[in-house]
Structures are given as structure tokens and as C-alpha cells.
């Protein structure tokens, strides 16, 4: 079977985000960009399924401008077999992204699609669920364990109440949570090898996908700042202030 994996280029998780003074967005010029951390986990999950002999091919997919190929190269260096770059300079929101992935599912007929639980830029956490709706396939979001068993999969999900187990028929859409695995480090020879792996470039038009109605961003602002606090010198001093505020008895 084939596994399709989403790879989004985002501002690296270690970057301190700066909002542009004119409210038009956040500063991305000269800022380190990386693969969305959840997508690294998604790639790793796909590779492990393949290494266990349960899949033949892992295909990394990104949607975005030319530079996103950097993240596809990382995915290929990790071990993905090939990559698809859906090239566009337009903003792609989850509903349109899901349409694109749906078109790719029609074309590639994967048995499993693994996306990240959320992209850490827009924090939407929608794409996997929307794709599952458009395909009419099962979804297993926030996965911390995936076990493939023939034509179905058992997925453990991290939910507010604890860990939920779902059984889904394949094909299915899974979204990867943090504890699914620890992604491998990429070694230099793998980076060299990845340069020879194919990246196919296609457009929305090639896939017959039109932009869905979109949410309009009117402005971007810095969040309300918390008042700077103080250091207390002792536990007694801490207890005293907390009692005074009525926070402890």
C-alpha cells in the first residue's frame, strides 16, 4: 500500500514570533523555517509502517511556493520514496488544502494518509478531519499509536479524558500527535541520496481544484501581555501573598 504524508513549511518552533507593527501579519523575513514538527512525526510513522513491511511507498506532499521543496527534501532524506509539490503562491487554508489532498487521493489511491495534528503556525487542526469528510473515509485524529492489521488499523488517540482506541477500515486518514514517535535524525549521506529522489511539481489547475471560500484575516495583533511579576524570597512570603489574594486558605 501507499502512504501519503502532509509536509507543511512553517516558522520553526523555537522562533520567538514578532507581530509586524502595521498589523499585516507576523515577521517571516530572515526567520528560520522548518517542517511542521507534527509532520516530521507523521513521516516517521509512515516510514516505520513501511519498514515493518506493511507499506510499499511513502509519498511526501507539500502545498505552497517553490521554497517548500526544502521541506520535501528533508522528508526524502528521512526516507520518503518520492514527493509531490503542489506549487502555488496563493494562501491555502485547510478546506482548500483538503480538496487538494482529496484530488491526490483520487490520483494515488493511498491506503493511509497521515497528516500532522496541527500546523504550528495557524494552529487550525482541521486538515485531516476535512480531508476525511471529503473522501468519506474514517478519521483517527491525535494519534499516539497506529497498528496496521490487514484492511484495518487500530489507532490510539490522545483525548482530553485519556487514551481512546478506534478501529478504522482502510483507507483512512490519521493525524499525528506528539507521542506517536520520535522522528529520526537525518544523516548526511541521506541528504545526498535524497537529491536524486524525484519531486513531482503540479498545480491546483492540474488537479482540477478550485479555491474554497476563505476566511479573511483583517488584522494581526500581539497578544495581551501579562503584567511583569515579582520574585518572592521565601515560601512564607509566597504563602502570605497568596493568602492575601484569597487564592489559598
Amino acid at each position: 500500500m501507499k502512504i501519503l504524508v502532509g509536509v507543511k513549511r512553517v516558522v520553526d518552533y523555537n522562533v520567538r514570533i514578532q507581530v509586524k507593527p502595521d498589523g499585516s501579519g507576523v515577521v517571516t523575513d530572515g526567520v528560520k523555517m522548518s517542517m511542521n514538527p507534527f509532520d516530521e512525526i507523521a513521516i516517521e510513522a509512515a516510514l516505520r509502517i513501511k519498514e515493518a513491511g506493511q507499506a510499499e511507498e511513502v509519498i511526501a506532499v507539500t502545498i505552497g511556493p517553490k521554497v517548500c521543496q526544502e521541506q520535501l527534501r528533508t522528508a526524502l532524506a528521512m526516507g520518503a520514496d518520492r514527493a509531490i509539490h503542489v506549487e502555488t503562491d496563493e494562501e491555502i487554508q485547510p478546506l482548500t488544502g483538503a480538496r487538494i489532498f482529496k484530488a491526490l487521493c483520487d490520483k494515488e489511491a493511498p491506503k493511509l494518509v497521515i497528516l500532522g495534528k496541527q500546523a504550528i503556525d495557524d494552529d487550525n487542526s482541521q486538515s485531516a478531519q476535512m480531508l476525511a469528510a471529503l473522501c468519506g473515509w474514517p478519521q483517527a485524529t491525535f494519534a499516539s499509536e497506529i497498528a496496521i492489521d490487514g484492511d484495518s488499523a487500530t489507532v490510539i488517540r490522545e483525548v482530553d479524558a485519556g487514551l481512546e482506541t478506534l478501529s478504522v477500515d482502510l483507507p483512512a486518514i490519521v493525524s499525528a500527535d506528539l507521542r506517536l514517535n520520535e522522528p529520526r535524525y537525518v544523516k548526511l549521506p541521506d541528504i545526498m541520496k535524497a537529491k536524486r529522489k524525484p519531486i513531482e511539481s503540479i498545480t491546483l489547475a492540474d488537479l482540477g481544484v478550485e479555491q474554497a471560500a476563505a476566511i479573511k484575516v483583517l488584522k494581526t495583533a500581539a497578544p495581551a501581555k501579562r503584567q511583569a511579576g515579582i520574585k518572592v524570597e521565601s515560601v512564607d512570603a509566597l504563602v502570605a501573598v497568596l493568602r492575601e489574594k484569597g487564592l489559598i486558605k
Binding site: 507581530v19 507576523v26 485547510p94 478546506l95 483538503a98 504550528i120 495557524d122 494552529d123 487550525n124 482541521q126 486538515s127 485531516a128 478531519q129 476535512m130 476525511a132 469528510a133 471529503l134 474514517p138 478519521q139 485524529t141 491525535f142 487500530t154 490522545e158 483525548v159 482530553d160 479524558a161 485519556g162 487514551l163 481512546e164 482506541t165 478506534l166 478501529s167 478504522v168 477500515d169 506528539l178 474554497a212 471560500a213 476566511i215 479573511k216 484575516v217 488584522k219 494581526t220 495583533a221 500581539a222 497578544p223 501579562r226 511583569a228 511579576g229 515579582i230 520574585k231 518572592v232 521565601s234 515560601v235 512564607d236 509566597l238 504563602v239 497568596l242 489574594k245 487564592l247 489559598i248
Partner: protein, 313 residues
């Protein structure tokens, strides 16, 4: 007439408090009505609890054995079928709502606004991005407005209402491709719910082991508090996943949050920005958590907890 439909989160018997927080948000929409839908196998008592929330007009009760557990693939087509009577469909931004609502939105064919933290108008909302390090004001396009409500931004709507309860049959085909197997809970042992507690005591990697976490639990019990944790503490197996606080864990707004042995990574801070008072105890005076703590205490967490226990005795 414009109306909002809120999808109730529940476990079959009890309505989750996140639903009443979504009601508080929905009131800001200033529409003609706020309705709640309870999708359940039976759900009678859940519907009664929903009907008691002040400001709710009608509670729709959709009884179906398939709704025994909240499986998004089964619930979504039912919500979609009900949505045609509404201008807005909301759910709490808990794992329940996050799992279900995008599937509903895509079935309807509209985008979703995630984590609404402020209502500017019936179509314009504020929501956090980049782990809460920026806030965007967004406008929904024409069509049904589908959104999840950031529960930490809204208090629980009070009781005092007496909405009518209407049973509804929803005639849609439900898929057989997804089966609920089981739920294993972290075992809260009677402690308050992390998302509702007034006080939360949290431990990080600095706590050092599962065994050492006992001191966190003990202090929490003394204060009637819920227990939280950083991702590092959960990853290390000190404590189950449902205690994780942060960008990818729970976003909480207790009156008092006390962090022990947590460095204060932005992903963790994203979960506690709405706390009333933040106390941080860390042996490293330069730990970033001190930049947002109202009261910081530099020291060994074990010594501090011991002294706190004495002072509170």
C-alpha cells in the same frame, strides 16, 4: 432568523462544562436563539442539564445507539443535517470539538474558525495563532459560520434557564468504517477536572520521576487542586497524557496556577496565559517561566513543597 447550534460534549450522563463555556461565547453573537444538540444513545439527563443553562432556547436530543460514543465520522453527518436551520454551528475547542467540527464544516462546504477567543460581530472573531503569540481578527465568508470556542476565554454560563427539549430523528446513513473500541482514562482519583479547576498544580521534567510526582499530587490534594504537567513530564512517563498543559495539550484558565520544575517553553505558556495568578518554582533563576509568573520563587522544588505543606498544615 439567525440561530446558533452548539454541539454538546458529554459522556452519556454528564454534560461537560466546556459546552456551557461555548454558550457564553455564543451569547456575544447576539442572534435570535441559542440551541444545543445532544447526540447520544439516550442522553435524557444530558439534555436536562443543557436545558438548565441560562440563555439556551431549545435543546435538540438526537437519540441513536450509534451515538453511544462520540465518533466524529458518525456524528458529523447528523450535525450537518441539522445545520441547515442555523446561521452558526459551534462546539468547544476540546479534543471532542476539534475532532468533530472540521468534519462537519467540510461536509457543509465552509471553512472553520478554530479557537474563537473573542466575538467582534456575528461574522468577525479573534483567534490565537502561533501558540498564542499573535492574535488574528478574521472574518467568515458567506454561509454557515462554523467555529470552535477556546474554552479558556469564556466562563461557564450559569444555570437558571428552562429550555424546551425536542427529540429529533435524523435520517442519514451512517458509515460502518469506524468503530469505537475503548477509552482508558488517566485515573483522576477524584481530583478536580484540569479544565475546570480553580487551582492547578503542575510539574515538569524537574520533578524527575513518576514516583517524585507524588509530592505534586499531595500538594494538589491539600489545595483541592487539579494536577497538570509539561510535555516533557508526560513524554518521560511521569504522568498520563491527559494532564498535559500547553499548545498541544489543555489550554486552561484557573485562578491559581503553580508550576514546579517547568522551564516555561512558549508551547507550555500557550496553555496558561489566561490563568489568574501564576506562581513558578524553579531552581534556575533565568528560567523563562519567571518572565510571565506573577510570583517567582527560585529554589529546589522539593524543599519548597515541603515548606509549603508545613505552612499550609
Amino acid at each position: 432568523m439567525s440561530k446558533v447550534l452548539i454541539i454538546a460534549e458529554h459522556d452519556g450522563n454528564t454534560l461537560n462544562g466546556s459546552t456551557a463555556r461555548a454558550v457564553t461565547c455564543a451569547k456575544d453573537l447576539a442572534l435570535d436563539a441559542i440551541d444545543i444538540v445532544v447526540l447520544a444513545a439516550d442522553g435524557s439527563s444530558v439534555a436536562e442539564q443543557a436545558a438548565a443553562i441560562a440563555g439556551v432556547n431549545t435543546v435538540l436530543l438526537v437519540q441513536n445507539p450509534a451515538n453511544e460514543n462520540a465518533v466524529a465520522a458518525l456524528l458529523a453527518p447528523q450535525v450537518k443535517a441539522l445545520s441547515s436551520d442555523y446561521s452558526h454551528v459551534f462546539a468547544p475547542s476540546t479534543t471532542f470539538g476539534k475532532d468533530l467540527l472540521p468534519r462537519v464544516a467540510a461536509l457543509i462546504g465552509v471553512p472553520q474558525i478554530s479557537d474563537i477567543m473573542r466575538v467582534e460581530s456575528a461574522t468577525v472573531f479573534d483567534r490565537p495563532v502561533y501558540a498564542g503569540n499573535a492574535v488574528v481578527t478574521v472574518e467568515a465568508p458567506a454561509g454557515i459560520v462554523v467555529g470552535t470556542v477556546r474554552t479558556a476565554s469564556y466562563p461557564v454560563a450559569p444555570n437558571g434557564g428552562s429550555a424546551s427539549i425536542e427529540k429529533r430523528e435524523v435520517a442519514v446513513d451512517l458509515p460502518a468504517h469506524t468503530r469505537y473500541v475503548s477509552l482508558s482514562t488517566g485515573g483522576g482519583e477524584g481530583r478536580p477536572d484540569l479544565q475546570a479547576a480553580a487551582t492547578v498544580i503542575s510539574g515538569g521534567r524537574g520533578v524527575g520521576s513518576e514516583d517524585n510526582f507524588k509530592v505534586i499530587y499531595s500538594l494538589a490534594d491539600k489545595l483541592g487542586a487539579a494536577v497538570g504537567a509539561s510535555r516533557a513530564a508526560v513524554d518521560a512517563g511521569f504522568i498520563p497524557n491527559d494532564h498535559q498543559v500547553g499548545q498541544t495539550g489543555k489550554i486552561i484558565a484557573p485562578d491559581l496556577y503553580m508550576a514546579f520544575g517547568i522551564s516555561g517553553a512558549i508551547q507550555h505558556l500557550a496553555g496558561i496565559k489566561d490563568a489568574g495568578t501564576i506562581v513558578a518554582v524553579n531552581k534556575d533563576a533565568d528560567a523563562p517561566i519567571f518572565e510571565i509568573a506573577d510570583y517567582g520563587l527560585v529554589g529546589d522544588l522539593f524543599t519548597v513543597i515541603e515548606d509549603l505543606e508545613k505552612a499550609l498544615a
